[in-house]
Symmetry: C2
Subunit: 274 residues, 2 copies
């Protein structure tokens, strides 16, 4: 399971305070580096960097975040921006020795597709492909699947290997309808069956938007999506219970031979107190 | 989701002590009644009664358990024994006003099938159908599915409504092989697709036998099995985290319209501290 740690995001608030935004704006390297290290220690495979709220300062800030985070952890990074200028600044500063970078994200929207694709090609990045186009986000799952399918085809036609594509079917809040959870799960199954070798990923936490006890819903949704083949997730790796459930799910689904990873995590004390 | 609370089982030990067995043997009604009430308060739909370790005293003890528990809770009961004499003693003492009783379980083994079937028919019970026959438990999932399928056909041919049949595909410990989890999930999917209207159930905790951090594995397995259509489970309802995850899974899978049950449980404080 590829875990993209979502915590370094300037739109995220802690007790109502934009603490990440403040840290980036004031170039508080120690604060950001701890956020990165904590996530990697907790099991994040990639560390997502998002400073979109800084607007015109986004390119410079994303470059700063890249340099700052890679001096603290060895994990590869995910550049989370629709802005090709910001993403390219980050890619140029990226130390490729740590593994392929990932762009979060491309869509089929005109402008965005043409802006991001050349970076995917030039830097041979992994890329998250959001199932949306110029008509916006389709709430009809059949239409959303069509958008996703077309985007995968366009990317592979442009030479992007299937193995570098992480399709995000877009997570709708279950508060908007009793069928949106199942719809998302079905899009994941369909994509994984139709394009063997492609990956699926989701920003899971949107499923619980507006609901009470969000953490529990996010945990259940992650397991359910894994059952449909999802092999990557943008989540909070500091949620120890979630990470434990992910490891358990991998063991049950036969993705963790002899459950060795699960047993090792247990021996390391990762499940203590859960 | 139909939850069968598994706690009243004389083979269960607490800190190495056979406290349930002792309570049943000494007719400690207050102890047993509390066990029953706690489970129902926690969300159990059915309360399972198993006193198999008492051997020759099983029939009398199961009758005593039945009377004792039904004077404390309104929930229907599950009689957990392969012994038709014990099950019939319990059924005769059962107060049908609380809903259909359930027998745990029938199999395709000769003797057991013929012993239990007349009780299912006479008392119009629900029945758990274990996927095993005279050849024992098949570790090959394809063969186990065949046994389950044949058993469902025999039961329906004998007039048992599909809606009263809860097929248990038998849970193997994942420690025995990396493919046993997936095999079980596939048997559940196949049965639910092949016999629309039938139910599936499992004694989930066996999945984690011999593994560390068993609770987490049991929780993940429950969610995965629900994703394949399992609509009943024999679990420990006192595991609050598990019960919360089950409620979240029902909301995501569209089995909880407008997530009203999830929201209600949250308002009742059921998820507090999780």
């Amino acid at each position: 399971m590829l875990i993209v740690g979502e915590r370094i995001n300037t739109s995220r608030k802690v007790k109502g305070e934009p603490v990440i935004e403040n840290a980036v704006a004031s170039r508080d390297a120690a604060f950001i580096q701890k956020l990165a290290k904590d996530q990697v220690d907790a099991g994040a495979t990639y560390v997502d960097l998002n400073c979109g709220t800084l607007r015109e300062d986004e390119p410079e800030s994303l470059e700063w975040l890249t340099k700052t985070v890679q001096s603290s952890v060895d994990a590869p990074l995910t550049f989370d921006s629709p802005n090709p200028v910001a993403v390219e600044r980050a890619l140029a500063a990226y130390d490729t020795g740590r593994g392929q970078p990932m762009i979060n994200s491309i869509t089929a929207e005109s402008g965005r597709y043409e802006g991001i694709l050349p970076l995917v090609q030039k830097y041979k990045t992994k890329v998250i492909a959001l199932a949306m186009d110029d008509s916006g986000i389709q709430s009809d799952p059949e239409k959303r699947l069509t958008v996703a399918r077309d985007l995968v085809k366009r990317l592979t036609d442009a030479g992007v290997p299937l193995d570098d594509i992480y399709v995000d079917p877009l997570t709708f809040p279950i508060g908007t309808g009793s069928d949106v959870g199942v719809a998302m799960l079905e899009i994941i199954s369909d994509l994984m069956n139709e394009f063997p070798g492609v990956h699926t990923i989701a920003g899971i936490s949107n499923v619980s938007h507006g609901m009470p006890a969000r953490k529990i819903l996010n945990q259940a949704m992650t397991i359910l999506a894994m059952d449909r083949g999802m092999d990557a997730a943008i989540i909070d790796p500091m949620d120890r219970y979630l990470m434990a459930l992910v490891a358990a799910t991998e063991a049950i689904l036969g993705r963790d031979e002899f459950s060795m990873n699960y047993i090792t995590l247990s021996r390391e004390g990762r499940f203590e107190g859960l």
